[in-house]
């Protein structure tokens, strides 16, 4: 199982804060984005259009980064920590 995490504004788009997917073998962030797009078109578009950052096992990933069973994939909207 692969654990997917949705943070901040993406939670509303995904309709959940996390989910577990059975990948059935190695895939990529791009393929994952396409799969998510089938149920959440806007979110899929943002992932494939690089409007959100993606991390795999807490390291910043690209669309080509491999995703395997047991990985933790997080979808991260633009950060807004700190204060000015």
């Amino acid at each position: 199982m692969t654990r997917l995490l949705y943070f901040a504004s993406l939670r509303a788009l995904a309709g959940k804060s996390e989910e577990s997917l059975e990948l059935g073998g190695e895939t990529t962030v791009r393929a994952l984005g396409e799969r998510i797009g089938k149920t959440s078109p806007k979110l899929g578009e943002m992932i494939l259009g690089k409007k959100v950052m993606v991390s795999v096992n807490q390291d910043v990933a690209t669309l080509d980064t491999p995703v395997r069973d047991g990985d933790e994939v997080a979808f991260l909207p633009p950060f807004s920590g700190g204060a000015i």
């Binding site: 943070f7 807490q58 204060a83 000015i84």
Partner: protein
């Protein structure tokens, strides 16, 4: 000193003591001659709207890892002696503390540079998000001023 914990990088719900953190970093070395702090606080006005409350969320572990990377790089690149970075999460009221960066160096120039770089880098690389509550509702802030 009970409110000051040993770790130099922390994400926590509770408030922090600015003077407590300064005193803690002073204990690191007798060569510290300049300490620069950046304290970010909850501001009432944002894009013409009155904010009633702020709420911060983070990606646990990854956010702490990014803050530690910033600390390590600041110490190496700016030749400062030490740095602490503390960010609060959860509900924060107007005027309350949000984030503190303490840069300690032998001389002030490195401390100023390291502190300014660190807050910009935090905003750029650390998975922390801010939600503002105004009379019109709640909105996740997506831009970095």
């Amino acid at each position: 000193m009970s409110t000051v914990m040993e770790s130099k990088v922390r994400i926590q719900r509770e408030d922090f003591s600015v003077t407590g953190e300064i005193e803690a970093i002073k204990k690191v070395s007798r060569n510290i001659g300049g300490i620069v702090t950046f304290l970010g606080t909850g501001r009432e006005l944002s894009k013409g709207e009155n904010i009633t409350q702020l709420n911060f969320e983070h990606y646990p572990n990854m956010a702490e890892k990014k803050l530690e990377e910033i600390r390590v790089k600041a110490i190496a690149d700016f030749k400062i002696i030490d740095m602490s970075i503390i960010h609060r999460i959860g509900e924060i009221d107007i005027g309350e503390n949000i984030v503190l960066i303490v840069a300690a160096a032998e001389h002030r120039t490195e401390a100023f540079k390291a502190c300014e770089w660190a807050i910009a880098e935090l905003k750029r690389t650390t998975p922390i998000w801010k939600r503002e509550t105004t009379s019109k509702g709640e909105v996740w802030v997506q831009d970095t001023p």
